[in-house]
């Protein structure tokens, strides 16, 4: 499946207005509406996609949102990975389409082998929910190109199975190839190896992370920031980044 061509509208309007970004809903997904809202706030059209539908409706990019798909039964993301929509996502991702996996979506991407490693239960066994500082390690991916390398950002984090694990060789590879996209700053909230909060594939079009950018896109409803309480909108940059990568594709 090839969904990377600009839509007619995007061709007519050389900007972000015509971009269509799909948000997949699995049974048990929680954050699909927030993700769709983030897409709209960034200036694109949000397209609702259903896990059982094998068509991605010619979207330009896809977000796998957070939640507890299939109740995290078996392993987080393990059953969703075999949904018809995921076969299309795997094809499209291998063709270069931008794909963002947030929290449970990140777990689905690792189960689908689009990203290496896996997530196991937090080392302290507790569910964690906090405003989390991150350091941007890679500002060249489809979803981070409007950040600066080394930039500190703050977005919400909420998970139970958030401990990123991989063998040492895989971790060395990720580090060596610059594929660590985000690292936890200040405190490692789940025991993730090498403080890794998010990673990308070798092409930089697929990004997965445990924290939630879609919950920090609108002043008044985000984390605390220098501008004031709940004023943080660092998450919006994920969505404007992908739009600019689509425009410049």
């Amino acid at each position: 499946m090839s969904a990377i061509e600009p839509t007619p509208a995007a061709t007519a309007v050389p900007g972000i207005e015509g971009a269509r970004i799909g948000v997949i809903t699995f049974p048990g997904t929680l954050d699909d509406r927030d993700a769709a809202r983030a897409v709209r706030l960034a200036g694109a059209e949000a397209v609702s996609l259903w896990h059982a539908d094998a068509s991605l409706q010619d979207v330009d990019a896809v977000v796998l949102p957070g939640g507890f798909s299939y109740g995290d039964y078996l392993r987080a993301g393990a059953i969703s990975r075999f949904a018809p929509a995921m076969a299309a996502v795997v094809d499209a991702a291998q063709g270069g389409m931008p794909v963002l996996g947030i929290c449970n979506g990140f777990q689905v991407l690792t189960e689908a082998h689009l990203l290496p490693g896996s997530m196991v239960k937090n080392d302290h066994l507790h569910f964690v929910c906090r405003e989390q500082s991150l350091i941007v390690e890679n500002a060249r991916t489809a979803w981070t190109n409007e950040f600066r390398r080394g930039q500190q950002i703050k977005i919400p984090l909420k998970n139970q199975d958030g401990q990123f694990v991989a063998d040492e060789r895989t971790l060395d590879e990720l580090e060596g190839e610059g594929r660590v996209v985000f690292r936890y700053d200040g405190w490692n909230p789940n025991g993730s190896r090498r403080d890794i909060a998010g990673i990308t594939n070798d092409r930089g079009n697929v990004v997965g992370l445990m924290p939630h950018p879609e919950h920090a896109v609108e002043s008044g409803f985000g984390p605390a920031s220098a501008e004031g309480p709940r004023a943080g909108v660092d998450g919006l940059t994920f969505f404007t980044s992908v739009l600019s990568s689509l425009v410049h594709a």
């Binding site: 078996l74 896996s118 196991v120 239960k121 302290h124 066994l125 694990v165 991989a166």
Partner: protein, 98 residues
């Protein structure tokens, strides 16, 4: 009716937080004999007929593709359950490496 038992364990190098929590709770009940616990999973796959070599091979395939994640888990065994398999120590057949 036949039954195939698949056992999956976290890889030794993966910290098992659940096992750690259980080993911490045991001494509180007076079980001071146990110095470590690792928690895994047991799946019982039922088939309508006999458990044939083909069925076992399919179970092995399911074990490594869906029932376990090779990044964090090992398939410890895929065995046919015998009639009186409901008691502990039933493990018949050799362990199957993953």
């Amino acid at each position: 009716m036949g039954r195939v038992v698949v056992e999956v364990m976290p890889k030794p190098e993966i910290l098992d937080p659940q096992g750690k929590a259980v080993v911490g709770a045991l001494p509180r009940l007076g079980f001071t004999q146990f110095s470590g616990v690792r928690q895994g999973k047991r799946f019982e796959l039922e088939v309508d007929g006999e458990v044939t070599p083909e069925i076992l091979a399919a179970a092995q395939e399911a074990a490594v593709t869906l029932l376990s994640n090779p990044v964090i888990e090992d398939v410890v065994s895929v065995t046919e359950a015998t009639e009186d398999a409901d008691v502990a120590g039933e493990a018949s057949g050799a362990p199957v490496g993953a």
